[in-house]
Amino acid sequence: MTIKVIDVGNDFSRFPGGRVRNDGRYSAEAFREDILLPALRENEQISLHLDSTAGYGSSFLEETFGGLVRLHAFTLETFKSRVILVSDDTILIEEILDYVKDAEKVELAHETSAA
């Protein structure tokens, strides 16, 4: 099984912030579309190292990881199996998983109301 290591601070930016590209140079959309997704397409698993940045806003985290569900049909199960979150901050990891979970709930609610 191929595991690709991505260190957010070194492979993307020490200063992530914002949701979409218009918000700033190191936005969640840029990280998700330019770094995370290509790595997920080419590798079965990603090991995502989170501690090398100055910090993360909730907008950045929600758009990055919730966006995987909304825009790229990830589920919580798929996410957990394919993305290994590495951080000394367990609260940060829980927060990310919450965003994925919440995005999945919203998508399921949309599908139910559409059906």
Binding site: S13, R14, F15, P16, G17, G18, R19, N22, D23, G24, Y26, S27, A54, G55, Y56, G57, S58, S59, F60, E62, E63, G66, R70, D89, D102, A103, V106
Partner: protein, 371 residues
């Protein structure tokens, strides 16, 4: 003498008429300038003895409003008289600097700057404003060399920008705090989160074309400052934008959620209550379910300390969240809503949104002179 041909005569006549017309226009313009231009005259605004949005809100907000109206509505050249000013707080300094920058960039007075001023008699105020870069904004020479930071009692540094620029947050922390204060890692992380979320909020919400602005604005711009005070053992981060404000945008996209919350908690729709509601709903203006954690991030920095508070002024409203007491110290209008934090309302609007975080928690801040 050669007789001029008819064509030449007509050409000469036309040229004479053109010269007369040009001279008439020039005379008329000079007359206009004599009537309307008073180059020696300026409108003086006396800066109050204390400018601080916490202890002297009305005076400070009135000052800012007076500057705006004089420059943009009345088209005057304004002279800021600092002679009697003895106290300038960090929050007032940032808003005043932002106002000066707006006035200077967006309005001129007969090709001259619209704002000028003098120096405070009080040396500590002079030094404080020098460190902020205030006199540079006013295009006045700074009277003091760079301050010896280690000997200072208080210090402030400002940065300004548009969009989300996390590197400026890191840079501000380095410049403003590094020489005297060590911030604990999680505090630095949470401060970064709070400030980048504030920038994000400005980029999405603050400067919206569907709202009328009473004065011209520098679109998308925010200002932030880092400040410390050694005798009080506190640090502050301050953030300001000149946008349409939380009370203006909150009700538009969250009408039903806001109405339910107001009904449940018995809250009204005053500016202070709308800010408090925004904090609790974690609401944003876009109405999308995935948005809405940015406001919570603003409070998180304080929640993770043992001694600190968050204060937000937006339009005429004020919100205070105090970590130590869990209550606020402002406002007879603060209602018993069961919400953490207190709110109040002011007669004079701020114009924009001002956020100030203060922490004094010794577990989170280590002063280098404590060694």
């Amino acid at each position: 003498m050669k007789r001029l041909s008819e064509l030449a005569k007509q050409r000469q006549l036309r040229l004479q008429q053109k010269r007369k017309k040009r001279t008439r226009k020039t005379r008329a313009f000079r007359k206009f300038l004599r009537i309307h231009r008073t180059p020696g005259e300026r409108f003086e605004i006396i800066i109050p003895e204390t400018i601080d949005f916490v202890s002297a809100y009305e005076d400070t907000a009135t000052l800012i409003q007076q500057i705006r109206e004089s420059v943009f509505n009345e088209g005057r050249q304004v002279f800021l008289n600092f002679e009697n000013c003895k106290t300038v707080s960090s929050n007032a300094a940032l808003v005043l600097a932002a106002e000066v920058e707006r006035c200077r960039l967006l309005k001129t007075w007969y090709n001259k700057p619209t704002l000028t001023g003098n120096y405070p008699h009080d040396k500590s105020v002079d030094v404080f404003l020098t460190e902020l870069g205030f006199f540079r904004l006013l295009r006045l020479a700074e009277r003091f060399e760079r301050v010896d930071v280690e000997k200072s009692e208080r210090f402030i540094k400002m940065r300004s920008g548009t969009r989300v620029k996390g590197e400026l947050v890191e840079g501000l922390q380095e410049v403003a705090f590094a020489e005297v204060v060590d911030l604990e890692n999680s505090a630095r992380f949470n401060l970064y989160r709070a400030l980048t979320e504030a920038m994000q909020n400005v980029n999405i919400h603050a400067y919206d074309v569907q709202f009328d602005q009473p004065f011209p604005v520098l679109w998308g711009r925010w200002w932030m400052a880092g400040y410390w005070n050694k005798p009080n053992r506190e640090i502050r981060a301050i953030f300001y934008d000149q946008g349409v404000t939380i009370p203006a945008t909150m009700p538009i996209r969250h009408e039903s959620a806001l109405a339910k919350m107001q009904a449940r908690l018995g809250m009204g729709a005053s500016d202070g209550e709308l800010i408090a509601s925004a904090m609790e709903l974690g609401a944003t203006r876009t109405g999308k379910p995935q948005h809405g954690n940015g406001m919570a991030d603003l409070r998180r920095f304080i929640d993770k300390t043992a001694d600190g508070h968050l204060q937000i002024w937006s339009r005429g409203g004020e919100y205070l969240y105090d970590k130590v007491s869990g209550e606020g110290s402002i406002g007879a209008e603060a209602g018993d809503t069961g919400l953490p934090g207190q709110f109040s309302n002011h007669r004079v609007p701020l114009g924009g949104t001002l956020i100030e975080w203060r922490i004094s928690d010794h577990n989170v801040i280590e002063w280098t002179d404590d060694d």
